[in-house]
Structures are given as C-alpha cells and as structure tokens.
Symmetry: C2
Subunit: 237 residues, 2 copies
Amino acid sequence: MGSPYGFELVENCLICKLRSDSFFCSLPKGALEAFDKMKYTASYPAGAVLFVEGQAPRGIYMLCKGRVKLSTTSAEGKTLILKIAQPGEVLGMHATVSGTPYEITAETGQPCQLNFVKRDDFSNFLQKHGDACLKAAQHLSKDCQTAYQQIRSLGLSHSAPERLARLLLEWTASSPEQAEPKVKLALTHEEIAQIIGTSRETVTRVLADFRKRQIAVLKGSTLTVRNKGVLEKLVGA
Amino acid sequence: MGSPYGFELVENCLICKLRSDSFFCSLPKGALEAFDKMKYTASYPAGAVLFVEGQAPRGIYMLCKGRVKLSTTSAEGKTLILKIAQPGEVLGMHATVSGTPYEITAETGQPCQLNFVKRDDFSNFLQKHGDACLKAAQHLSKDCQTAYQQIRSLGLSHSAPERLARLLLEWTASSPEQAEPKVKLALTHEEIAQIIGTSRETVTRVLADFRKRQIAVLKGSTLTVRNKGVLEKLVGA
DNA sequence: CCTGCCGCGTGACCCACATCACAAGCACGC
DNA sequence: GCGTGCTTGTGATGTGGGTCACGCGGCAGG
C-alpha cells in the first residue's frame, strides 16, 4: 500500500487516531463498526472536486484529514466560499438526508483523506443508530449556525473592512490566547474576497490599510493580529 | 375554553387536522403520542416574541398555525429577516439540539398556534424515537438549504433589482401555474428590504420601476406578476 | 373634527466599492 | 538563464444605492 499524497491512509475507523470528540464519527462501538463496514476510504490530491452543486446526491463524505473548500457559483461565474471544512466534518449531508441535489460544491484545498458512504447506506445507518442520527442532527445544526453567521456578515454589515475584520477575528478566535495571535492559512486574496463577498482588489487594499495602521499583517500564509481591539471596534462590538 | 385570537386551539395532536405530510409532527403513532404528552399548546397574538437571539435555549416551538418572522439584528439596530416560517416548521431546533444560544429572533406575524416542548424533553424524545430524529435531521437540512439560498442571494448578486426579482419568483414559485400569478402577502416595503438586505427606499423605487415596466405590481397585500420572463432574466437565469 | 403615527413615494447628494488596466513580484519547469 | 502563469499592489473612473429630507395619504383614537 502506497501513500500517494504524503500520508498514510487510515483504513480502519476502529483504531483511527485522527478522530477527536468533535468528529462526527466519534460514535459508540456498535455504530462505529457499522460505519466502518459501509465506508469507502480514499485519498485525494489538492484541487479534487468531490461534488458539484446541482448534482443528485450520491452520498456523504466524512473528512478525516485535510481541508475542503465549500462554495457556490453564480451563473455569471462569480464564486462565493461558504466555508473551509475542517477534519471531522461531514460533507454533503444536507443533500443526502433530504434527497435534494447538492446545493454547494466541494473541492479539496490540500491532500485529503475522506470516507465516502453511499446514500442508501447512510440513510439506513441513521435509521438504525439513534445516537448517530442525533449526532447528525447536531452537525446539521452547527452548519445552520455558521450559515446564519455568514448571512449576518453579508447582510448586516455595510463596509468591506468590517466584514474582513469579522473574518480575521473568527480565524483567531480558535487560536490560543496570546498577545499577538498568529494563524496559518493558505488562502489567496481572491479566496478571501470570495468569502466576504467583495472583490480581490478591495481585499488587497484593506489588508494594506490594516498593515499600515498596525492592526493586522498577512505575510505569506501567516496572519498576525497586532491590535485586536481595533478589529473589534470595526465590527461594531 | 375560549378562542382568544379568532380560531379554536387544537389541543390533541392525535386528532389534529392542521397537520400535513410536510409537517414535522407527521410522525408514526408511537412517536406522535409521546410528542402529544410532552408539548404545551398555546396561542399567541400577532407581534409576540417567542425567543430572542442570544437567549439560552429553552426548547422548541412547533408552529401549527400562522406565520412567524425569523430575524437577526445587528448592534446598530439594522434588522435582517431570515425567513417567514410556515405552519409545520419547528422553531429554535438548532439551538435546542446543539445546546447553544438561539442565534435568531422569532416573532409572530399574525395570531398563531404553537406547541412548545422543553429542551430536555425534546432531546430525550429524539433519542428514543429514531424516526422523529430522522425527521428532525431532514428539517434541519431544509433550513440549511434555505440559508444557503439566502447566502447566494446576498453574496452573489450585485443589484437590488436582481435580489427583489429572485424574491418575487420565490414567492410565486409555490403558487399554482397560471398566466399572471397572484400572491397574498402581508409585508411592508421595510420588511421586504430587510429580507433582501437593502433599504426601504430602494424597495419602493424598484417596485415602482417594475410597475412602470409592467413586470410586477404590488397593490395592497396582493402581488401580481405580469411578466415572469423579465424577472427570470433579471436574476440571470 | 384635528392630530399623531405609519407606510409609501421621490428628489438630491455622495461615497464605498466594483471594474478596468497595468506593473511588479514570485514560483514553476524547461 | 528565460518564459509562463499566478498572486499581489495601485491608480483612474464610474455608479449603485445608502442616507437624509420632505410631502402625501390612510387610519385610529381623542
């Protein structure tokens, strides 16, 4: 067995060490065994498209390792990034559970390991295992919440600097408490623009402004927040 | 027993005729009986606030009859309407399932009948009744999907006319197929503005423009779409 | 009746940001 | 090396629509 993208595949969910408590697959033994039996493990290179909006749902993808970009695209080709999925999340669950077409597009942003489960298998699985179903409901709830957060960000803030400030705070929120939080992220200005719904040039300009005013610096793929207070004032908190 | 707001309360879920297949409470007998036992039925006048964003979740509200406005408000007092909930929907499920504060505000738009279920009771209920849990997951999925739709509308379209056109099409989509679809809705220009994330004046102007161009007319609370084709072209479809 | 109040209609102003256009920096593979 | 492609930086320009300001009509209550 090779390791095509620089890491070993974990084939067996029961002994998997990638999993943490927040993972969807953090399940009691019985459910986990059932999940292990019906899943198809695979690894993907960066830039692989898992599913496209509008497709009929084939099933779910459990993200074990790596990041996946979730986005929608308008008819004119403008793209909006909904979120960057982290390990432990389940992709395509809405469509699979409700039987409607995938409403978003999922594309790996780096080499990833994913477990695919066919739609019917997943439905049966949820039917049989109440604890898994509850877990699924919780994950869906969280998705809704982040969606609502993004709606707030898009609908309730007027200025691009405000939205960018909110995004930077969001990113640093999970990082350890420290004077000047640093976050690693591999996103281009273009992608940041697609998250906050603005243009690439505006992101560049606002970041330059933040840098000049000693608020935050994005150098390479490292973000350093110099003055959290000002950011918080910008978002109106 | 009186009927305070012009309709009779249906106290017993088992013989309720308000329910249709799409209702959350369209459940097999066992689950329905359990639901009936733990719910508290009540009616509310128009304008009643069921819960406010930021509150700790008390439980869920099953909407039997009437419409409920779901919204968020920014620190500066700007309001964004997320959706108008229809009978059959469950309000506050995200917060209740995940245990996080209500992230939105729910306010009745007309006299309503609602069934309240306490948080712990609802959790136990979902644990015990797998079919109800699955149904809950489906409802959460649908919520996510409408949220994503709104994100698309807010993030991917530049012009206010485009967003308004999309909204009008959405409203008429469910109405019977006919040459000039008419829809009843009781929303002020202000509220429409809050749905599509623009200002009241802009809504007035765009509606005036639509009227002049014979595209759609909003008179009183009746919306008549005169030229669906133009609307569809406006949204870029 | 007059007086508020609220939803609607409209004009004037102006600024944030999209858009276009182009240059410079940086990483590749050959 | 040198080209090719992508990302970043920055200036000039145009405009959509937010905001303010005010007038009008309808409706309820004193």
